[in-house]
Symmetry: C2
Subunit: 244 residues, 2 copies
């Protein structure tokens, strides 16, 4: 039996989604909790491998089990075992052909920025103290829509085959005094959102006269701007055709 | 010179707003930071004395100084000295007749509840796992509007002269899967919002057949329901005629 579920987490205390030797990971914490509940080894597959410090509101994941789960009961037990910064929801049986990563049609990330110190959003936003031309950032963001090679915005060492991604949404909005950048694409390459945000802010501050169009066309990693901090980034949703 | 400012804080790590002997307080942290910047003793007056664990988005406060402050510079310095869970903003000169507490025309509190474990809102919401008749909670909330004696919802030991408060807004709204209770009044008595929320949830769960109208009329503290946890409560705003 395959089971699908959503995961919400505060990534602050983790080395990222993926199981690793030298840091705690969301995947390892989930596997440990599911193993305690099911009493069998559990291997969990996620839709996206978020980086250290990156959060998720609705990561998608699946798990295969020989035994049948009481999903409602198991969800409660897993959540009691997990620390307060990780929670599972929407646990449900899924079709054997469903795959949390490969069945995902698109992913949505949101990046939160604020102009001042915000205690109620500590470790949730990037404090952008600079003077930024937000109108320019908005215009440059719109250029991202479509299919592009994002090599310029892909950190090395990711082992990705290619950097071609189809962006279906890229926009800046206001939520109170927060600036929120929302981006949806079929796939994302390593550090792509943080690299885009850092570069957009460099452009908005007048620290770079490059345009996003030129930077994309250059496919030159060295021309990207700074990488924005992980704390402002949330994997907001993973879209599947139907399962939710 | 009198100076007005706003304070945002995460109250989790504090014994409350007010300076006290046995726990860290928001007031003491602010006074220490202002004293470091101004190099003179600072006494800070707040609009409302929030309890241990209660947060604030826009607490109002004032401070008297003989010297003149560069407000922009001082605000940055004070915020650098304060821990990440407290921030000052809108620091500005105020009229001598202005008083952060007595000039406040009304206060708005918001109380956040959610039906499931929410890692991204840890220490910001009350997890209400119960089956609640929210329609009934909404109807009972509306009864609060007007001038009433809130003795039933006032914890003892507060030394308040009287419990008469004029409530101008009391409503329940949805923000995603959160339930948010917003209440505005000219004044609040000790633990009033948390006592109201706990009682409303008791009523909504069918654990109490009392009505808010009957409970108010009884003026009997023993008839109030549970006190909802502090973590869900935020002092959202303090309204003054003009200063902001």
């Amino acid at each position: 039996m395959r089971y699908f579920f959503r995961v919400e987490y505060d990534g602050t205390g983790y080395g990222g989604w993926q199981r690793q030797h030298n840091a705690p990971s969301i995947q390892a914490a989930l596997e440990k909790a599911f193993e305690t509940v099911t009493r069998v080894p559990c291997r969990i597959t996620g839709a996206g491998r978020t980086d250290a410090g990156v959060h998720a509101r609705a990561q998608g994941a699946h798990l295969d089990l020989d035994a049948k789960l009481d999903t409602r009961e198991s969800e409660l037990s897993v959540n009691s075992l997990l620390p307060p910064d990780i929670a599972v929801y929407h646990l449900q049986p899924a079709d054997e052909t469903f795959h949390a990563r490969y069945s995902a049609l698109s992913r949505r990330y949101r990046y939160f920025m604020c102009p001042r110190k915000r205690p109620l959003l500590f470790k949730r936003v990037w404090m952008v103290f600079y003077e930024v031309d937000w109108k320019l950032v908005e215009e440059e963001s719109a250029v991202l829509i479509g299919t592009h090679d994002f090599s310029t915005f892909c950190a090395t060492g990711s082992g990705t085959r290619h950097a071609r991604c189809t962006v279906t949404r890229a926009e800046l909005s206001n939520e109170g005094d927060l600036k929120v950048f929302t981006i949806e694409a079929n796939r994302f390459v390593y550090t792509m959102v943080r690299s885009l945000i850092g570069t957009l802010i460099d452009i908005g501050r007048g620290h770079s006269t490059d345009s996003i169009a030129d930077l994309l066309a250059s496919r030159d990693r060295k021309r990207a701007g700074m990488t924005a901090p992980a704390c402002g980034l949330v994997l907001d949703n993973v879209y599947y055709g139907g399962v939710d």
